[in-house]
């Protein structure tokens, strides 16, 4: 390296402030005396400035760290990754284990579910008691059950059990909050309508008592809000209904004929009696359990005799202690979690809810098969008899008036509400309104009211509600309408007279005034 090169290198280091004190002092001395060194220093300074002014630092990278640590994570040893992903890994392991278990033992979950089911079923099956004993049902209730298929579950809460068949003949039952058919003492009216004597009354009572005893084991309830309905209940309803009607026919054929559509003959009731016997002899332990959160069917052995024995013992004990026996208050709430089971329920049952109704349609169930002669037409006729009897017993609908309509309510049967609209009352069109109302009353929906002979309707009912006139009193209404017409005519004439008087008075006043002027 030449002397110059060596000095120039020192100049470069001098610019970078990298010389020792001695080197710097010595170099500065040399620079003072050498123009070449001075010029070289200037060049190097300019180059240095050019470099430092030309380069700009690279902009910061905001995602550098994120990228780096993601990359580091992916490069971590496997055991560290497993630690991080341990929840997912655990889940995966669990899945594999479940799969293996299911593979080797496919029924394990079903068994578990069945076990749980039976636990729940056990809970709901505890302390079941016959409805008839706990709810204080009487002959009237059983009569209503036979005729109208309704049994009160809890008289205070006005919840009823309604059993019936749908249009396709499938059984269903409903628990609903409506007023049970209580107004109108139906059994008594039935007795009155048939004109039964004391002997007949006793016979009816014995029939009811006998069925009451048998019905006891058909509907069971408990404090866990469970209703267990024996699948034979539908047949029992038919049996009691049939038996009652067969008895009615036998005891007073003439009066009975007034109940019954002409199409059905009851003269040969032997077959029916045989069918009733068959129902009685059917031993059936299949119950449908409706609980607040599930529905299931189960075969249980309910020993009524045993139960009664226990009950009487308990009663004795309580009497000894001078205390009253507490009754079960049945409070079935169908607004509860049962609804969420709607889709998941056993396919044999279909549950339908609305605000005050829980309806269970029984799609597939092994009902005891009883051979009624000509089943379909017979029961349609029976239902029609029950329906006819309802009117026959002077069951008078509650009538409500509105501005533009009248509603006829049949308490206890919300479906049967009749409504008639009419124009707002107007004096001039009053006649029109009345005739319209009459027309509507005569419409098809009122045919029910004209089914019977009038004499029977009024028989034994001394105080007839005035509304009842509408159903029958054609003549009376006509008379009333004529009367109203006359009155209106009179009123119009009065108005006319008054108008003319008024007119005359005005004219005379005008004359007086003109005279003053």
């Amino acid at each position: 390296m030449s002397r110059n090169s060596k000095d120039f290198e020192l100049l470069s280091a001098y610019l970078d402030n990298e010389l020792s004190h001695g080197e710097r002092v010595q170099l500065e001395e040399s620079i003072k005396s050498s123009l070449q060194l001075q010029k070289k220093l200037e060049d190097l300074k300019k180059i240095k400035q050019l470099i430092s002014s030309s380069y700009k630092k690279i902009p910061e990278s905001p995602y550098f760290e994120t990228r780096l640590f993601a990359s580091l994570d992916s490069k971590k040893p496997w055991h560290k990754k497993v630690l991080k992903w341990s929840p997912a890994v655990g889940l995966a392991f669990a899945t594999v284990i479940i799969m293996v278990v299911l593979r080797t033992n496919p029924d394990i979950f079903n068994n578990l579910i069945e076990e749980q089911k039976s636990n729940i079923a056990g809970f709901y099956k505890e302390n079941l008691q016959p409805l008839l004993l706990t709810a204080d049902l009487n002959n009237e209730d059983i009569f209503n059950f036979a005729m109208y298929k309704q049994l009160p579950l809890d008289k205070d809460d006005r919840k009823i059990l309604h059993i019936d068949y749908d249009k396709t003949g499938k059984e269903f039952f409903e628990i609903k909050s409506v007023k049970p058919i209580q107004n109108g003492n139906n059994l008594e009216k039935f007795i009155v309508a048939l004109n039964l004597d004391e002997k007949g009354k006793k016979q009816i009572d014995s029939i009811m008592n006998r069925y009451a005893e048998e019905l006891e084991a058909q509907i069971l309830i408990n404090k866990n809000n469970t209703v267990a309905i024996n699948s034979n209940l539908w047949n029992y309803q038919r049996a009691i209904q049939t038996d009652l009607l067969a008895f009615a026919e036998k005891s007073n054929w003439q009066e009975f004929q007034k109940f019954v559509p002409n199409t059905v003959s009851y003269t040969n009731s032997r077959d029916i009696v045989l069918a009733v016997k068959e129902i009685r002899n059917t031993h059936n332990n299949n119950y449908i359990f409706l609980t607040p959160d599930s529905i299931f069917s189960e075969s249980i052995e309910f020993d009524l005799q045993e139960y009664k024995l226990q009950l009487s013992e308990l009663e004795n004990e309580l009497n000894e202690q001078n205390r009253n026996q507490r009754k079960i208050q049945f409070q079935f709430s169908y607004e509860s979690s049962l609804q969420k089971f709607e889709d998941k329920l056993h396919s044999n049952f279909k549950i339908i809810f609305d605000s005050n109704l829980c309806r269970v349609e029984i799609l597939e169930f092994d009902f005891p098969d009883v051979h009624f002669p000509d089943f379909d037409s017979l029961f349609i006729a029976y239902d029609s008899v029950a329906s006819n009897f309802k009117f026959h017993s002077q069951y008078i609908p509650r009538i409500e008036y509105f501005d533009n309509k009248i509603q006829f309510h049949f308490d206890g049967d919300s479906l049967r509400t009749y409504e008639f609209e009419y124009y707002k009352f107007d004096l001039d069109s009053s006649m029109e309104f009345q005739s319209e109302l009459l027309d509507s009353l005569k419409s098809n929906s009122w045919n029910n009211f004209y089914n019977f002979n009038d004499s029977l309707v009024f028989k034994g009912i001394p105080k007839l509600d005035s509304y009842f006139k509408y159903y029958d009193g054609d003549v009376e209404i006509k008379l009333e309408m004529e009367h109203l017409g006359k009155e209106l005519k009179k009123f119009r004439e009065e108005m006319k007279q008054w108008k003319e008087e008024f007119k005359r008075e005005f004219q005379s006043r005008d004359k007086d005034n003109n005279g003053i002027k």
């Binding site: 470069s12 970078d16 470099i51 430092s52 630092k57 990278s61 990228r67 780096l68 990359s71 580091l72």
Partner: protein, 198 residues
């Protein structure tokens, strides 16, 4: 007396300098891996700039910087505290750049040769930005071993000692290379020297 004795037996409070690289590295070695994030935050920009200066373009900067820190992370537990952490870090950075350039040069063989380099004659200086571009272009034509020490000195402000440690060479070598780099740059820029030196 007893009191003094007790005092002397008490563990002395440790003064941890959080801004000290060594203490962060020590904590990392002791198992506190969160300190690595602090080290990254402290040095990432210098590392990125060294790469940028070394390569002359910004395309691969972040990729190489990632590689640098991954290498650091993997090897940090073997750090022996014989040099500054930064020296070790920058050395890794420079080596990563060298690796990159070596691979790039191999790839270049298969790429058609573009215009001959070093032709600055036709370049005209219109704006200040152009001067920067020309200077940067000129610097990029310097050999790596001259260019890197020059830029570490003039841009990053490293001392000769730091550069020597980073480049794993003698201080005298650094001094010489920086001078030669400046001389080389002057020669490259000579055609437009009049305009540049105004």
């Amino acid at each position: 007396m007893n009191l003094n004795k007790e005092n002397s037996e008490l563990p002395q409070p440790q003064i941890l300098k959080l801004d000290d690289d060594f203490s962060l590295v020590k904590r990392f070695i002791d198992g506190d891996e969160s300190t690595f994030r602090l080290l990254v935050q402290r040095h990432k920009e210098t590392v990125r700039n060294i790469i940028y200066l070394t390569l002359g373009d910004s395309d691969a900067v972040d990729d190489i910087a990632q590689e640098v820190f991954i290498t650091v992370y993997k090897n940090l537990k073997n750090f022996r505290f014989e040099s500054l952490f930064t020296t070790w870090l920058y050395r890794i950075t420079v080596n990563k750049c060298k690796d990159y350039l070596r691979k790039k040069n191999v790839r270049k063989i298969f790429v058609p040769i573009k215009e001959a380099s070093g032709e600055l004659r036709n370049d005209s200086i219109t704006e200040k930005n152009d001067i920067s571009k020309i200077v940067m272009k000129a610097i990029s034509k310097l050999p790596q071993k001259l260019k890197v020490p020059l830029l570490l000195k003039d841009i990053e402000g490293f001392s000769y000692q730091e550069i020597a440690e980073t480049m794993e060479c003698e201080i005298g070598t650094v001094k010489s290379r920086i001078f030669r780099a400046r001389e080389g740059l002057k020669k490259i820029l000579q055609p437009i020297e009049a305009e540049l030196m105004e």
